[in-house]
């Protein structure tokens, strides 16, 4: 975990412009450290991912059914054309 030496500076100097002397000069290791991930955020993300995957799948199924519908329409038109030809005869 990277620590910036300026992080411990007083609050009133937090927004002060960094001078060359104020920069980090060391990287110090720390045990544990602050949490990297919020459990709540991860839970919401997991839940959202679940429903996004299911909705995308539903969309793909819908598109496939649409394709079947279009093919059925073509077939019905062909049958109607053949029926019209038979009636003419």
């Amino acid at each position: 975990m990277m620590q910036n030496t300026t992080a411990a500076a007083p609050a009133d100097s937090a927004h002060a412009p960094l001078t060359p002397d104020g920069r980090s000069t060391t990287f110090q290791a720390v045990e544990g450290g602050p949490e990297q991930h919020s459990g709540t955020t991860l839970l919401v993300e997991a839940y959202a991912v679940l429903w996004v995957i299911l909705m995308v799948w539903l969309l793909l199924v819908w598109r496939r059914q649409k394709d079947v519908g279009a093919r059925l329409d073509d077939l019905e038109k062909a049958i109607d054309r053949a029926a019209a030809k038979l009636e003419k005869k």
Partner: protein
Amino acid sequence: MCLVTSRARASTGTTGADYAFYATIALATALYVWLINLVFLRVPTEKTMGIVQKIFYFHVPSAYSMYIGAAACFIGSVMYLIRPTDARDALARAGAEVAVVFGAIVLTTGPLWAAKAWGFYWTWDPRLTTALLSVLIYVAYLVLRGFAGDGEGERKFAAALGILGAFNLPIIHFSVQKWSGQHPTVITGKGGGLQHPDMKLALGLGFAAFTLFALAALWARVRVEVGKSRLARAEEDAIDLGIDDRNEG
């Protein structure tokens, strides 16, 4: 005119199967609503992992639903190789699709939990690796079915792949017991189990809701695939009889 009327009649009317499907969907929806209420409002937070442990109630039932899809693919594939029919091929294809969908949920919700519990999203743990391998096998199955045509040979080759994919399922299941790794073993024989009645209820509800949804999805997909096969045959017949003046290709 007569033809049109008979087609219109055939496309309407609710059968017993339709009512059974609607009932399955209604029950699955009710269970999902109960599950969401339970998980987010009643089930206690886990002691060491915190709120992120609640992913478990969706992650584990999703894995179980992946098994349902894979089992359907295996059964459909074996039956197709014994005696090829459209329905058996449709069962295999729909099963593979259900396995991929729920496998994708497992492989995304798991790492989100791991980010908090382990500190990293992914590791080559035996269960994670075998689960990924299984999903990739079913993705390969779907790619094959999508791009290699729908002939008898392609269907048989896909059936062999569907059977091969099923051999990995017991390996996924027993990998946490046979090999070392980091994946928890909470609900296996060696695990300590869930320590609160609401946790057990939520997991049970998760299993019930996801099982019903997976079965309904499988059913709907089989129906569409069977319809597509029947339509393809009707198109071929129409061309052969000279009814359809389009080219077969």
